[in-house]
């Protein structure tokens, strides 16, 4: 129990620390890597809380997701290396106020609520994965299928948005001149 508390706290601190670094560094690649480490620490928290399947899934998903994000950062940012010292933030006071207020309210709820009896033991990883599989293909099948359709829709929508728009009028003019 103490080991679990220790590892949850250590990985939690790491997730928070790297989360802060995301918005503190000027280099965009460092920013993406800090987010990768933060999300990996969250995955390690899942492992420490004996949620093995979700922990491994989180680490694998975030490793690929953040690598892609780092490439996009370098492609789109005006100063990806952060060498120019550009400030790319606005309404800082309001943002800090909103962030601190939201965190304070959530912390107050966490500390002041009566959470009732806490479970001491959970099923082992194999039994958990089996039970989750039965849940996905049983009671929650509609949600699972809806998530699949939504992913497909988002893939098509993202591709459609990213494809360059052809200017048909200028194409017709070009053909007419030829």
């Amino acid at each position: 129990m103490y080991a679990q508390a220790f590892f949850v706290a250590v990985f939690g601190l790491a997730a928070i620390g790297f989360g802060v670094v995301v918005f503190r560094t000027s280099s965009m690649v460092r920013s993406a890597l800090a987010l990768l480490f933060s999300q990996t620490a969250v995955g390690c928290m899942f492992l420490a809380m004996q949620t093995e399947f979700l922990g491994v899934l989180q680490i694998m998903m975030m490793a690929t997701e953040m690598s892609i994000m780092a490439i996009f950062m370098v492609m789109f940012m005006m100063d990806p290396g952060g060498l120019g010292g550009m400030d790319m933030s606005h309404q800082k006071r309001f943002s800090i106020g909103a962030g601190v207020s939201a965190a304070a309210v959530a912390i107050a709820v966490a500390l002041l609520s009566d959470w009732g009896p806490v479970a001491e033991q959970v099923a082992d990883a194999e039994a958990q994965t089996r039970a989750l599989g039965m849940e996905l293909l049983g009671r929650s099948m509609m949600i699972f299928e809806t998530a699949g359709i939504t992913i497909l829709t988002a893939m098509i929508a993202a591709t459609a948005v990213a494809i360059p728009v052809q200017n048909l009028a200028s194409k017709d003019d070009k053909e007419a001149s030829e």
Partner: protein, 103 residues
């Protein structure tokens, strides 16, 4: 055991707060998406902690985490699609310049 639950909930709350700060303070679309990712990570930590310590017999809690992970992936896919379209049209993904829909 309650201490572990509280530590996890505090971590989730602070991650959510950092995410809100990032999403509101950054001017670049990709950085705003990073803020949203941190907010969703905070929500996932809470969901896993609730499942593990309060209702380990109800696997719909883990199902909920899978749905949030799906939302994270979708947000990335659609966000980058919009970023590419915006970069093609305006040459930048700075959101302070995105006033096309302003009334």
């Amino acid at each position: 055991m309650t201490a572990v639950l509280i530590v996890a909930l505090l971590t989730g709350a602070i991650l959510f707060g950092i995410g809100i700060y990032g999403a509101l303070s950054q001017t670049n679309l990709v950085m705003i998406m990073m803020g949203v990712e941190l907010m969703l990570a905070g929500a996932m930590v809470n969901l896993v902690a609730f499942w593990r310590f309060l209702h380990p017999e109800a696997y719909s809690g883990q199902m909920f985490v899978l749905v949030v992970m799906t939302v994270m992936a979708l947000e990335m896919a659609v966000g980058f699609g919009v970023a590419i379209a915006r970069f093609r049209a305006k040459g930048s993904v700075e959101m302070e310049e995105a006033e096309d829909l302003k009334g």
